[in-house]
Each structure stands twice: as C-alpha cells, then as structure tokens.
Subunit: 322 residues, 2 copies
Amino acid sequence: MPGADEVAAAVRAGDVRAAARLMRDLDDARPGAVEVMKLLYPHTGRAWVLGITGNPGSGKSTVVDALIAHYRKQHKRVGVVAVDPTSPFSGGAILGDRIRMQRHATDDGVFIRSLATRGHLGGLSRSTSDVVAVLDAMGFDLVLVETVGVGQDEIDVVAQAETAVVVTVPGLGDEIQAIKAGILEIADVLVVNKADREGADRTVRDLTTMLELRPADARTGAEPVEIIRTVATAGQGIGELAAACERHRARGRDGAAGSDDRRRRRAEAAVREHVLDAVRRTVDEALAARAELVDRVAARALDPYSAADELLTAITGARAPR
Amino acid sequence: MPGADEVAAAVRAGDVRAAARLMRDLDDARPGAVEVMKLLYPHTGRAWVLGITGNPGSGKSTVVDALIAHYRKQHKRVGVVAVDPTSPFSGGAILGDRIRMQRHATDDGVFIRSLATRGHLGGLSRSTSDVVAVLDAMGFDLVLVETVGVGQDEIDVVAQAETAVVVTVPGLGDEIQAIKAGILEIADVLVVNKADREGADRTVRDLTTMLELRPADARTGAEPVEIIRTVATAGQGIGELAAACERHRARGRDGAAGSDDRRRRRAEAAVREHVLDAVRRTVDEALAARAELVDRVAARALDPYSAADELLTAITGARAPR
C-alpha cells in the first residue's frame, strides 16, 4: 500500500485512479486517508466551488450540463459532485436523460463523482467537502456541487459553496413555492430556467419581491442577488449566468462585506463536520458493543434517555452535560 | 419552577400548557426536561404512531386532515407532529389552505405541534421522538407524524413510525418518480391520492411493479404493502386507508416476522439520536471555546482535519479513532 506522501503526490498530479481510491477510503474511514488530506490541504483553496440547487423538474441538471460545456470551451477543468438522487450526473434518475451527460464522460477535463444521500447519516456535508478538497488539490479550476434543493442537508451543502446558485422555473405550484422560500435565502445568483415558458415574467417579479423581503441578516448581507433567465436546453442565458456567478465570486475575493464572515463559517462547518463524523463512528461502535442496552430499551425495561447517558459516559469517560 | 414529578403528572393528566412547555424545554435542552422524560417513559408505548410522507403536491396534508376527522368520529384523541415546511399543519404554507385546518384548532381531542426542519442540525429525529413520547404519555390514542418525503432526515422520521404511509398522485414527472423510488422502500401502506385523476390506474400498476422489484431485505420483510386509492378532498377511500393501516398495525403487534426487528431498530435509533444530540451540543461548546482554531482554518494556516483532531482530544480527553 502506498504511503500518504505518494498518494498525495499522485492526486496532485491529477491521477484519477488515485483520487477515486482516496475518495473511497475517506468514505470508508480507512486509516491513512485523513493523513493524505492533511498533506493535500495546503494545495487546496484554488478551485472555485459553485453550488447549484433547485427543485426536481427545474432543469437544474441541464443548467449544470450547459455550464460544464461553457467552461470546457474556455479550457477550464471542471469537477462535478452530484448529491442529487434525481440527477443524471449521479446516475440516479430512473428515466432521466442520462445520455446527454455521456458527452462529458470521455472528456479528461471533466471528473464526475456522485454521492448517495441515503445512508450518510448526516455526514453528507463532510463527504462533500472531502470530495471537493480532493478535486481542488487535483487542480480542477471549477467544482460544481449539485444537490436537490429540498432536504436540509442538501441545502446546507450548497450553502457551503463559495457561490450558491438556486434554479427555479415558471409555473410551479404553491406548495413548491413555499419550499423555494426556504432555499431562497442561500442564493447568491437566482436562475429562472425554461424562461421561454408562460409565466416567466411573473416568476421573475415574484422572486424580486421575495428578495426585497429577505431579512437584512441573510448570509449575503447587502450583496445584490442577480436573477438570470435561461433556456438551458438551448444554451440560452448560460453565458450571462456564468458572468453573474463570476461577478459574485469577484466581489467575495475582493473582500466585500460578509465574505470573511462566510469564509469563517465555512471553516467552522468543516471542522464541526469532521468532529461529528468521527464521533458518529465512535457512537456506532459503542452501540454495537453495548447491544444489551438497546435490547432493554426495545423491551421498555430502560428509557432511551438513561441508555444514552450510559453510552455518553462510556464514550467521553464522564457524564456529558444535558 | 415545578419539579420533574409535578410536570410529569401534569403531562400525564393531559395538561396542554405543561406539555407545550416541556416540548419547548426539550428543544432548548433545559436541565430537568430529560428527567421529566425519564419519568414519562414507562407511560409511553400505548399510542399508535402513524407516519405520513409524500411529495409536495400529493395532497398529503389533506389525507392527514381526513384521517384526523375519521378518528375523531370514533372519539379517538389525535396528536399531530408536522415537520413539513409546506404543510398547513405547521403553518408553513405561504398560500396553502390553512383554513381547512382551523376546524381542528378548537377541538380538545386534537393537539398539533409543528417542528422546524431548518436549524435542527440533524436533530430532527430526536426532536420528533421527544414530541411523540410527550403526546403518547398525554394519552393520545394516535400520533400522526407528517413530513415532506424528500430530505433524508424527513424520510428517516417517518421510517421510525410504527406504520409508515407514503402518499403519491397520478401524473408526477419522471424526476419526481425517481425520488419516490427512494421513499417507496419505507412504505407499509401506499396511497394514490387524487385517484379520480387521469392516469391513476397506471400509477397503481407502476407502484405494484416497483413493489415487486423491492429488494427482499427491505425493512418490512415479506409483509404485504397495500395500495389504497383516495380522493382525500372528498373523504373518499379514507376509511379503507385507515383499515389498511390498522391491518398493518395488527400484524406488527401480533409479532409478525420483522416486527421485533423493527422495534429494536427504533430503540437503537432513539438511543443514537439522544447521544448524538448531547454530543452536538458539546461539540458546539468546544467550537465556541476554541474560536482561534476556526480562525486558523479560515486563514488556511491549519487544516480542518487537524483542527478536528484537536477538538476531539479536548472533548473526549483522548484521541478518537479515525
């Protein structure tokens, strides 16, 4: 087995197999994988991490696809992290247009990694930031993180990106509009896709109103949020979208109000996730080792609160504060 | 401030104010709240916990509403836990038909508690099981837990219920169908709502096929999954739905294959969530106490993996295994 130094060097040289193996080792929490990440860390922070989220049916994957094509024309190398079970990038769409993605599959300048949303037990954010860091160290110019914009975890993942794009479409029902209100607050750039459809003007107006009503303490502070119209299937508006995202990025890197704050929050979230991830494993081991505790709770001979206290004592060596 | 004994007695007597205060105290992690829960625990396990999930637009809230009316006619007392931001029960629907719910608002036999999905930091399952336990101890016969069926947390919450109902409708797009495949595996009873719509037969056929393709190790084992057609706005099929749910419950309580297994998994999940919830608080306190660690990560002077190791050492007093 190669040492951490060798693996780190291979990843930095862009070795796709070494990178894929490292991602797998991180997922499996193999010893040594974290050592590689520590070596890679000084070589990260160069890639632009662009998060994209939106409801199923918004054509978000088509927007991602068009953005890849846009940046490939500029010879940028693009990494994609798909955490959306409906995305053709993750291969999760049962009847989706997976074929469209094939054109990137043989392109060396594009690396696609899908992450399952199930079974991550809250570790989705940690897994995503690991994969992003590996792609960053590999020298990808741009890392696109795509999630379905409904679950809390998925929204958090996009909120961690340097630039967060939220995709919507005209004519979704009221219930979906209500969900959208929840993801609106993380948007740096808003996209109205399928803008050739009836109702696009109204959607843009509605979004403008909602942005005006956005609380002043929203994460982007006083930063403007541009609303871009696209017809991603025809490539329309993709150049404008890329330009809007680049303006957002430039403002952040220029040290605009709030950008330091966001950098710090990203750092805090990363540290928290790594700690929680290690703790989750410790808790699962403790649960497996104390199976009789669970049996007693299942039989209602013990309450889950007291059982949790016992496990906490076993893990931390002292009763945790409650 | 009343002692734990007094609070527990008040909750058991059905005191709505005492119960609401206890739920708030649990959310705020106030000392003493867990002591009350330990006292209440022997008096739980009587309520039937029925989880209901489904995509936005499936009319799931109308199904919940109709089920409440159905069981109120039988003079059963019904608790509702709404963790769906689009649900009129949670008051989260911007333009939803909140008025319909009003008829239950003045009914003493109905208690509605909404939980925010944002800001729970993965503790949604813990919060829900706490609220369910309080309603159970209050003597509610039935506790309906309603979530939007997209995020992992929301699906997990319904999977924890004794009986899990998944609501769908004819004619949703392919992308939404793909999501549905993810929640299908937790279903004990499937509902095709708006069954007067075109395409209902096809949806029932598709679901039947998907059920046949369901892996043998799915959580319900070889248990049959009934598919019920409803038109919830007209109350059609609600009696049949209730009967199907009751058959599922009876099979579980009769000790059918898999029911012990599910009871144990529920117990394990409850203990795990209580432990993780306490640990999360400890981690947040440690993060606040070691702000300089985060500053160094934000400035890229320290990698988040090493920062996490330092925090873990501070929390557990020893280096956690990685």
